[in-house]
Symmetry: C2
Subunit: 305 residues, 2 copies
């Protein structure tokens, strides 16, 4: 199944010509998820040819403007474009009244159902699940209440070994049990071991999003072993004092988290407008964790790679 | 003196790849004024190479998102870029608490002085003046309280006729009175008529901004004889019913206002995303008022032309 991330905004608080404020579009098993929605996100969605009416979940990490100032405009555009399918927004408690009051002041009433689910900035939480995916939030350490998000494929089904099944006497009604990894005991007392009639499930992939946060090893358990970690890297080593003062991370600190968490790959973003080049971010991170890239607006990458 | 408008956003509620939501940058006698500030305005300011720290006045017409969702982000960026010079924001009463609450929730405290002046949606009002310019607001008719704005150069000084003065016996201390158009009566009873010693002042130009509004001839007196009128033209004739229902105008209605008000030139904007071409806007307006243009993002025009 597809599991892909498109970077809509890779910049920090001050947007530049090259980097919009934070937003990412994640497609996971045909679930269409937006993470953060900085100013201009709806234009970026259009720029990159994404069909925004497909979005079903919007996750907002925290209430700094560069992470949510595009949200009400996006919802409003969805409404004006004729949306009738509901949408769920997850974010800090106060976000609900911000959305409501801005729509109200503008005299707008959405023609679709907007469900709001408050995230918990203190504890990890399963905020959504269906038959294929799970979305979790987990606490980050920033100047205001902030959460990261983890999108995880559920354990996939075992694949039937049709060759083996053909000669076994197993029937169609047994197949869904085998797919779930169960052994079969038939009425006549025959035991069929799942492993003899299936191939192992394909691997399940996972994507964790950490922005914004100070360097904090307490987040390691939440992102342990994920396939891909996105971690903010607002600063480089020479500005590490500034990182500390503003509750942000350096590229090296992000790499340290990636290494401790044994992630498959690390993507760095939320780069401060002060840097012309990404060279130091990359080299400083790679010293600790070499499977690192810096994101750019418009970049796409597979989580299931 | 310079009097120039740059269009930062020419679209309506739904932004497109070509048209950002409404915003205009007006330079009038070295006063730097932003009118409306739709989502993405700070990026457009950057796109078009405008030095946004020069802005001293921000005028917000009404609280539909496509006219102000970029404001708090812009103020925040000004702060992060080290602004210390104050700024004045003019707009509907509720805007003040929106700005304050969004900054507060984000934990931001601006390092510059932000003065807020509420506009009156029911009566015309002089909202700013100095020695060179005046800014007025005036009521428009839209679904929510809305004002237009008029930026007007004050009557300029008479220009001294140095040839005539040289042989007259007039002294330096008389010059500032002549510049103001006053006749001079000297202590020895001699009368000097201003018109004999000056050339007439250069013309004073004026720019009126009307967005959003239904067709309403009661606004004609407010924009009477302006050099340049910007008037919204969300729709064309074929969608005139929709214009009526949404309290917007057609291009022809904007032209009718321009004609009644005897303006120098008409610019049309706030075009609905439904139109691929501007041809009908232009032709339908030109039937009534031929000095008409349709604005595009990035367009610049002189008011003092």
């Amino acid at each position: 199944m597809n599991f892909e991330v498109t970077i809509l905004g890779s910049g920090a608080a001050v947007p530049t010509l090259r980097r919009n404020p934070t937003s990412q579009y994640v497609v996971c098993n045909d679930r269409h998820i937006l993470i953060d929605c900085g100013e201009g996100t709806q234009m970026q969605i259009r720029n990159y040819g994404i069909r925004f009416q497909r979005l079903s979940h919007i996750l907002i990490s925290h209430l700094h403007g560069d992470h949510f100032f595009g949200l009400v405009g996006l919802l409003s555009t969805m409404h004006l474009m004729g949306r009738d399918k509901g949408i769920t927004v997850y974010g800090p408690t106060e976000l609900e009244s911000i959305i409501k009051s801005q729509l109200e002041i503008g005299g707008a009433k959405l023609d679709f159902d907007l469900q709001f689910i408050a995230t918990d900035p203190k504890n990890p939480q399963l905020i959504f699940e269906d038959n294929l995916i799970e979305i979790h939030s987990f606490p980050l350490k920033h100047r205001i209440p902030t959460t990261g998000f983890l999108i995880r494929e559920k354990t996939k089904e075992f694949n039937l070994n049709s060759e083996a099944i053909k000669e076994s006497g197993l029937k169609i009604e047994h197949f869904h049990l085998l797919k779930k990894g169960q052994d079969i005991l038939t009425e006549d007392g025959q035991l069929y071991s799942c492993k003899d009639f299936t191939f192992p499930p394909k691997p399940s992939y996972s994507y964790a999003f950490c922005s914004d946060t100070k360097y904090d090893i307490s987040i390691v358990p939440f992102v342990k072993d994920v396939s891909v970690l996105y971690h903010e890297a607002t600063f480089t080593n020479k500005d590490s004092e500034r990182a500390k003062a503003t509750f942000h991370s350096t590229a090296a600190q992000a790499a340290d988290i990636a290494k401790r968490a044994n992630v498959g790959k690390l993507y760095l973003g939320h780069l401060s407008a002060r840097y012309e080049s990404t060279a130091f971010h990359l080299s400083e991170a790679a010293e600790l964790f070499d499977k690192t890239e810096v994101v750019e607006d418009g970049m796409k990458f597979l989580v299931s790679a």
